[in-house]
Symmetry: C2
């Protein structure tokens, strides 16, 4: 058998001549991925975090939800009211937060919470709820009822948004309006309609950009990030099968949104919030598809800025 | 409410001034991911394919295996003998291939098959098996038994490899020796030991580079790809927790191998074979972890050359 050392010698020279990295020799530390304090190995240097929208697990109770997040090593959750009711006492909130912490999870925001201009008591309750939890962002869908074509529809409400703007300043909490695409055309279908509403309100009034609904409304999610980043407080990560109302939920690697461009845009604008997966199919058995999504986004996070 | 068209006008100008892509306006086709003929949306232009090593599903029968692959839209399988026995008749092989095709799966190689220098009848059977299936690659572990320190161990065999080299030329089939890291130190622990064996044999003698075992043997997988690509016929994709014998299987985003560098190396050398996931834990319920791995690698495939 040939002498291996001489074989490596030739090989290393050929490698150097080709401008390649030399083999690691005795130590491979330099090529190893880095494990962050929050537990996940990472290679890239993206400024944002990966999280989960509570709605992904709306058929799971909080114990099932936290177990699923722990398996995936996902550490940020946007809390939905079916996991922590809005009327929860401070003691119930504290117990919920301890349970999350036991699974390595932080509830970083609440919502989406639908808010009716006709029920300002509920609006105040929601701000009190966010304050009790200690989150800095409420994801919300503020509306007023209007009659259009003989039907009662939920419609954008300037009056309510002005009141919300006041609450934001009073509570020092951001309000992130969630866009819903062509399904609810009068109620913030896209990022552009949210910007038109909030641009002259408190800087705490902004959006949770749902990139799936943005694309279903035939708008470019990456362009929305580049245009409106100063008002983007949260982001719902998804992929969909079409840039129309017919677009349906797909695992992140299998839809038509160019998520590489989305991640590049997030890096370019320095987005430092969460990108939270909102996966909207197979709600009772979504383990594998959610894991595929989380894996895909980690691949983009590791490689786009590596 | 402000006129949205005038709002967009200002916004687009600001965007152009910042050197950004303009919003898509009426059509988002240009930002959409492309669906390949094999069904998976893709953004990048990597020269290689994503596949599955049959061993990942060694606790599944072939129906369960194909159902799992179909859900993940994985189209290439390295066939293990527990899914298609080596003594299968041509009729059994044809039925197996039809079943694979019904799930959108192609069996592109067979193995790993352990081959003992003392049983040349079996070696010939294995080549006949590969020929019946019509694959161009056998992944193998060729050995001879030797006494070392009073124990019988499986050891590399020059004699057998020379005979395999002849079979390769006769059958026009490639033989890809699988490295097994520090667990079997006398039997091709790393890519370097395989190259030392095959470099003066038929060009059809090469390796199935197991990047997990390469890293567990404290070698750099990306450097092995750059050094030895002309002899790499297949690749087992995995991640592990450490660059030592203590290294254990982890989902791809959570181990210490820098897979971004692996994908870059594969692109740079123009590797055009399969990268097949061999996921070696939780064999009876690996759906979510395998999906996370497949998602992660698709993220790298989409972004590294996008």
């Amino acid at each position: 058998m040939m002498n291996r050392r001489s074989f490596f010698g030739v090989s290393s020279l050929a490698l150097l001549a080709a401008g390649c990295q030399t083999p690691c020799g005795g130590k491979c530390e330099s090529v190893a991925a880095k494990r962050r304090p929050d537990g996940v190995y990472t290679l890239g240097k993206v400024p944002f975090k990966l999280g989960m929208a509570g709605f992904t697990y709306h058929k799971f109770n909080i114990d099932q939800t936290l177990a699923a997040l722990k398996k995936l090593e996902v550490h940020y959750l946007c809390i939905k009211d079916f996991h922590l009711p809005i009327k929860s006492t401070q003691a119930e909130v504290d117990a919920f937060k301890r349970k999350c912490a036991d699974h390595g999870v932080t509830g970083y925001a609440v919502g989406p919470i639908y808010m009716d201009a006709a029920n300002m008591d509920f609006v105040k309750e929601a701000f009190d709820y966010a304050a009790r939890i200690g989150v800095k962002t409420i994801v919300g869908v503020p509306f007023e009822k209007r009659e259009i074509g003989g039907k009662s529809v939920r419609h954008e409400s300037r009056t309510l948004c002005e009141k919300l703007s006041g609450f934001c300043d009073e509570y020092k909490i951001n309000y992130a309006i969630h866009n819903h695409g062509p399904d609810i055309p009068y109620l913030f279908p896209n990022a552009e309609s949210i910007m038109a509403m909030v641009k002259d309100l408190s800087p705490r009034m902004g959006m949770c950009l749902d990139i799936g609904h943005q694309f279903r409304d035939n708008k470019d999610p990456a362009a929305a990030i580049r245009n409106f980043h100063s008002r983007i407080f949260d982001l719902h990560l998804k992929n969909v099968s079409d840039n129309s109302k017919a677009g349906r939920a797909e695992p992140l690697p299998r839809g038509r949104i160019d998520l590489v461009e989305v991640v590049r845009a997030l890096c370019d604008v320095g987005y430092a919030g969460c990108c939270s997966l909102e996966f909207e199919r197979n709600f009772t058995d979504n383990y594998a598809e959610v894991a595929e999504c989380i894996g895909y986004f980690r691949g983009l996070m590791d490689s786009v800025r590596a």
